[in-house]
Symmetry: C2
Subunit: 338 residues, 2 copies
DNA sequence: TTAATTCGTGTGGACGTACACGCAAGAGGA
DNA sequence: TCCTCTTGCGTGTACGTCCACACGAATTAA
């Protein structure tokens, strides 16, 4: 572990000169620049993070650009928890996180919320690129600010890291869970809240794909509940009905069907261990929940960005979030792990 | 973020005096001790890790006391991977990890391996207390060195953190997985490698407990394979047989039954995504695997110890590792997450 | 009474980096 | 010739903590 001072000694100059070379601050003779660069290279100089971050002046600021927590409470809130945990781990290292929220139903709000972040001079940001065009716009406006994706990915952009769950694997898993108990289902539906949401569409497609060999699958969007309700209740008269809710609203569907006194006729598989889903799972109203470790996504995204900014070099990576299966028996005690 | 210097100013003393109080180095008047403690408390003083670890002199050394990786390859190796990842995160912070391995079949080797760690002057250690008496001995010999437990716990000792999976919940989950497809099983067995292993016994007991209402469960230890094999093959003639392997040897059982051409007659649920188990799961020879996030256990244990040593104060905690369910459809791509 | 010890406290590095400042030498313009 | 501006470099200090050392005063021992 060679230090600036040692490089200076070897090069026969002062530490200040080495510092200027290392930071491209100029005012150094070409020969010295060359010599210092070479010595640093040969000895594998790595700046000491401790010393570097010790001056309180330069604080590292991360931006988090997310949908409003209120709209999809559990999941995004848990991601935020993960971000906060990372913040706690990093705060002794002089780093902080600023948030900005967009409305996932208003594409324009994404870029607006992003600009709010940039106005507070962030060094990097984390976002869920669920509004693809907005994300492209933002990335092209600020090409030098590194970012990481969580929740879903966008193949044509180059985040430093990309933490998301493979929606195809998730759909297959849901299909398997549905069919585990033999082929006792009489009919199967998928339901999604957000029309056009990438993850949702892919999950539903993969699920349908696996189901099709033995049965028809009907796909619904949740905006027309009345129609859907009627259809579901009717289907339940001819046997057990499978419902795959591709976003975190399974509890809502489950509660409504339960209110009709028909809960027993449905086998519901949903996503994300929100408080409500957790309760329904524990009450037996939901059959299984697929999780995607929101807390870990948030935490690891911040850590990855931190490492990237510190070690300067660092590979761009795509990391697949595991498909967690929760049934009544393995509901985690502590939200810490989610 | 109040600093030592600021505390000193408020208390009307020098930084050196504050330092002595904070480190219990004595040689300070009672009044000043009291005053400084109060000021630090009131302002929530937290030592700055950067400054603290900047003096290269004091390097933090963690010990890892584990069973030989070879004997139970996948699981312990993955824990070691988690430890290594934590090490990478901490190495800029002047910390390292030294390993020592014991033979889980030789109780004496635990303490011997432990003493090897202490001879290299560790500040804290991580271990799996599967040899309970050895662990008690070691803890009493070195009462001042903090430790964290992974894999399993030992209620009469006081680790700083205790990361382990609730074996009861794991057993219940296995039972549920077995019975998901209706009551189509004709007979059920549990198999364990290590007689007397705490986790294994508890898992088997919980599983048996859940199964009992509808069917008999036979418990086997793997040491007498011939006898067991005969019994299993015979049982398979009268219907589908459930096997719950309470440690990571499910693949071994599965391969043997497959070699008998009888794989289709068994539904096997096992533990830990070792390479072999992963393959069997993917080939359909194993029905489900229960995971316990070994990588996370290792990683988080190191981090928890680090935080404990740095922030001085820190609560003793028991954290339950989630019961992960893996079926063919959700085998994680990347071992990173395990 | 004098010397030795203890106690309470302050001082001043050191860790490695960042950066402001200052200083000398030379170039250019009036 | 004097003044200013630039270039190339060194110096000094700050960041917060740790710790060795020093120093006066009080206490104890001889």
């Amino acid at each position: 572990m060679i230090t600036i001072k040692e490089i200076a000694e070897k090069a026969g100059v002062s530490a200040g000169t080495v510092d200027r070379v290392l930071h491209d601050r100029g005012r150094v003779s070409p020969e010295n620049i060359e010599k210092i660069r070479r010595i640093a290279e040969e000895n594998g100089y790595v700046p000491n993070q401790l010393a570097r971050r010790l001056q309180g002046s330069r604080l590292l600021r991360f931006g988090a650009l997310m949908p409003e927590l209120g709209t999809e409470y559990g999941y995004w809130q848990q991601i935020a928890n993960g971000l906060e945990e990372a913040k706690r781990e990093l705060e002794t290292l002089n780093a902080e996180i600023v948030y900005s929220f967009f409305d996932r139903k208003d594409p324009e709000s994404f870029v607006r919320a992003g600009e709010v972040l940039f106005s507070s001079d962030i060094d990097a940001y984390i976002t869920a690129p669920i509004l693809a065009d907005g994300m492209r716009e933002l990335a092209s406006r600020h090409p030098d600010v590194p970012y990481a994706f969580i929740d879903s990915s966008l193949p044509d952009l180059s985040p430093i890291f990309d933490f998301s769950q493979d929606p195809i694997a998730a759909g297959y898993t849901a299909a398997r869970l549905m069919r585990l108990p033999g082929d006792d289902l009489s009919s199967v539906f998928t339901i999604q809240m957000h029309k056009g949401a990438f993850n949702g569409e892919m999950r539903a497609a993969a699920f349908t794909d696996r189901m099709r060999p033995c049965m028809q699958v009907e796909n619904f969007y949740a905006d027309r509940w009345e129609e859907m309700e009627e259809r579901l209740m009717k289907a339940s008269q001819s046997g057990l009905v499978g419902i795959f809710v591709v976003d975190d609203q399974a509890s809502m569907i489950a509660r409504k069907l339960d209110a009709n006194g028909a809960a027993g006729h449905f086998r519901i598989v949903g996503f994300d261990l929100s408080e409500e889903n957790r309760r329904c799972l524990s009450d037996g109203l939901i059959y299984a929940i697929i999780g995607q470790r929101p807390g870990m996504q948030g935490h690891d995204a911040v850590m990855a960005l931190y490492n990237h900014l510190m070690h300067v070099s660092s590979p761009r990576e795509r990391l697949s979030v595991p498909v967690d299966i929760y049934i009544r028996e393995n509901i985690p005690e502590s939200p810490h792990w989610l």
